[in-house]
């Protein structure tokens, strides 16, 4: 495995689905980062309620008091809030939960997995045991337990998902380091008396980056799914903060009515973003020539 370089970028871009997925992710990243100026309803949480124009169909045009006409491209919900704006505001939650938990999981996973793989012996035995213990409590339930312990809300979900997803990262890093440790160049570095952290950081980690990147893409997608699920259960982002999961929850009961789109669109959004990450993961695997199960 070599470091990613320009050639790998070309290989990635030649994967059509991966490019498509990356574009879709970037689009939503932009929407989330620019925030309110892009939204038809620029109020902080896209929470501008007008009960008199609730449940408008997608594409309806309405006029405000000053006579200016506005498009409700995706219609409005029960409280007359613009659905497109809510979706755009909600994207920030999905993406930041994904990014945050990937970051936390990388920090913990690199540290513990690296130590276990490099030091071996009883350190490895204990860390491996801890990995198996964490592994045996399903992520969703672990996150539920953590949010119960530290209260409902956006930040708790953030932490909880990160604190459960590092296991996968640690496993990969440990496995990679176990085999890299036997490499002649690592042994040469050891013989030269380089400090352990330097060997791990400068000489081993760059060679383990391929599978790590693939796992991060998968973790990002998994975090989005879990966040959406938690919001759906009412544990995640709290009303009126919009998140794709709680928008589905709010409108799930409308499925049998003419307003089914209110639940269908946010659900499809979640699926599309997760799918985009799956494609990007495929593209990375293809470009970095990593096997799916190292």
């Amino acid at each position: 495995m070599e470091r990613p370089n320009l050639h790998d970028v070309k290989a990635f871009l030649s994967h059509r689905m991966a490019t498509l997925g990356a574009g879709w992710i970037l689009l939503w990243l932009l929407i989330a980062m620019v925030g309110s100026p892009l939204r038809p309803d620029p109020s902080p949480m896209a929470n501008d309620q007008h009960l008199d124009r609730g449940l408008l169909s997608p594409g309806t045009v309405w006029e405000d008091a000053s006579g200016t006409s506005h498009h409700a491209w995706l219609g409005t919900d029960r409280y007359g809030r613009d659905v497109l704006s809510r979706l755009m505001a909600g994207s920030g939650i999905s993406l930041s939960v994904g990014a945050g938990s990937v970051l936390i999981s990388l920090l913990l996973g690199l540290l513990l997995g690296g130590l276990a793989g490099y030091l071996g012996g009883w350190v490895d035995a204990w860390i491996s045991w801890f990995l198996q213990v964490m592994w045996s409590v399903p992520t969703l339930l672990m996150v539920l337990a953590i949010t119960l312990a530290f209260g409902k809300g956006f930040w708790q979900v953030f932490l909880a998902i990160g604190l459960t997803m590092w296991v996968e990262v640690a496993r990969i890093v440990r496995g990679q380091f176990l085999s890299l440790r036997e490499m002649p160049y690592v042994q040469a570095a050891e013989a030269l008396g380089l400090p352990s952290w330097r060997i791990m950081w400068r000489h081993m980690l760059p060679n383990a980056i391929g599978p790590l990147v693939v796992v991060c893409a998968a973790n990002f997608a998994a975090a989005i799914l879990i966040e959406a699920g938690l919001s759906f259960l009412g544990v995640g982002a709290q009303i009126p903060m919009p998140s794709w999961g709680n928008i589905v929850k709010e409108h799930a009961h409308l499925l049998t009515t003419d307003h089914a789109w209110l639940a269908l669109i946010p659900g499809a959004m979640i699926a599309s973003l997760v799918l985009a990450f799956a494609w990007v993961g495929d593209g990375l695997r293809h470009a970095l020539k990593t096997t799916s199960h190292p």
Partner: protein
């Protein structure tokens, strides 16, 4: 035999760790006594509530009590020592033993999870083998595409879609109900097993593992088909179904089996959504309701049951591994 004992010891070590972890997380939950018993504001009532659930004890004492109650060996009700049913404490509301509630709900969830798993394995392996046999083509690409989509959609959303599409919109055509538990009380014939209620939730829960099984089987079988012993078998005149069954299937099963053991537990967790949407009276629904009302012992009991199942299934698969692949035994 020695291998088996070592695996058992390892499994117990992991089990102990996960029980402790779950205990420690739930021990962080702020004291709920005032919120739950507090409507009548009487100090004695709150104290009694704390006493009953051991909330007045220190963390160490609570841990000892937790492990003591959980252990299947200990003082029995008749006095003396022996085997007994583990206890998981009492529900905050009404004081019903948590074990009773879980035991009542467990069969429904197990039935659902097993049906979903069976569907995923049988259909997934068959489809995966077929795709590997046919090689790359429009069919392969279509199935892979659909199964990637199946992995990407959130399970609650799939549940809603299936309940709505197959249970309501096309109800006349499928004849399947959008909700209901596995036991129905027939006014004339007493409790009946309602298999019709099982189909949609099991299908929903099975979609994600089905997608993974298809892809794993296809990849593993495609790798096996490249092996030289397959060429030999073909040269000897073996073809089609017999070749796939005798030579490919057995050698391609290991990765599928490993992955399948991992999902069984996450399926029990995923059942929370499916049971909630379909109104299936299992552990997921029980945990969801307990979560909403803040009935901690029930949530904790549910988490413990799931992680114990996970450890047990993993152990079983480890043992099965040795049986399927003799090379592992000698290691």
């Amino acid at each position: 035999m020695q291998r088996l004992l070592r695996q058992l010891a390892q499994g117990l070590g992991v089990l102990w760790g996960s029980l402790t972890l779950v205990f420690l997380i739930f021990a962080q939950v702020p004291d709920p006594a005032r919120a739950i018993a507090g409507q009548n504001e009487r100090t004695e009532a709150i104290e009694a509530f704390r006493q009953l659930h051991g909330l007045n004890l220190s963390l160490g004492e609570r841990y000892v009590r937790f492990l003591g109650e959980l252990s299947p060996l200990g003082p029995t009700q008749e006095g003396g020592w022996g085997l007994r049913a583990p206890s998981l404490g009492k529900s905050y509301f009404g004081g019903r033993p948590v074990v009773d509630a879980l035991v009542e709900a467990l069969p429904a969830t197990m039935l659902l999870a097993c049906a979903a798993m069976l569907l995923a394995l049988v259909l997934g392996i068959a489809l995966g083998l077929m795709l590997a046999w046919q090689g790359d083509g429009p069919w392969a690409r279509a199935v892979i595409g659909v199964s990637t989509l199946g992995m990407s959609a959130p399970s609650f959303f799939v549940a809603i879609l299936v309940a709505w599409g197959l249970g309501v919109v096309w109800h006349d055509w499928t004849g399947l109900p959008a909700s209901g538990g596995w036991r129905v009380l027939d006014p004339f014939e007493g409790p009946q097993f309602a298999w019709k209620h099982l189909i949609l939730p099991a299908f929903t829960l099975g979609i994600r593992p089905l997608s993974v099984v298809i892809q794993l089987t296809r990849n593993a079988a495609a790798d096996v088909l490249e092996e030289s012993y397959i060429r030999t078998a073909r040269a000897k005149g073996l073809s089609g179904w017999r070749l796939m069954r005798k030579h490919v299937l057995r050698n391609a099963m290991n990765p599928v089996l490993t992955a399948a053991s991992g999902w069984f537990a996450s399926m029990l967790a995923g059942a929370v959504f499916v049971e909630y949407v379909f109104g299936w009276n299992g552990m997921g629904l029980l945990m969801f309701r307990a979560l909403e009302s803040g009935d901690l012992p029930v949530v904790m009991g549910g988490v413990l049951v799931v992680s114990t199942t996970f450890v047990a299934v993993n152990l079983l698969v480890d043992v099965l591994y040795g049986w399927l692949d003799p090379r592992v035994r000698s290691r």
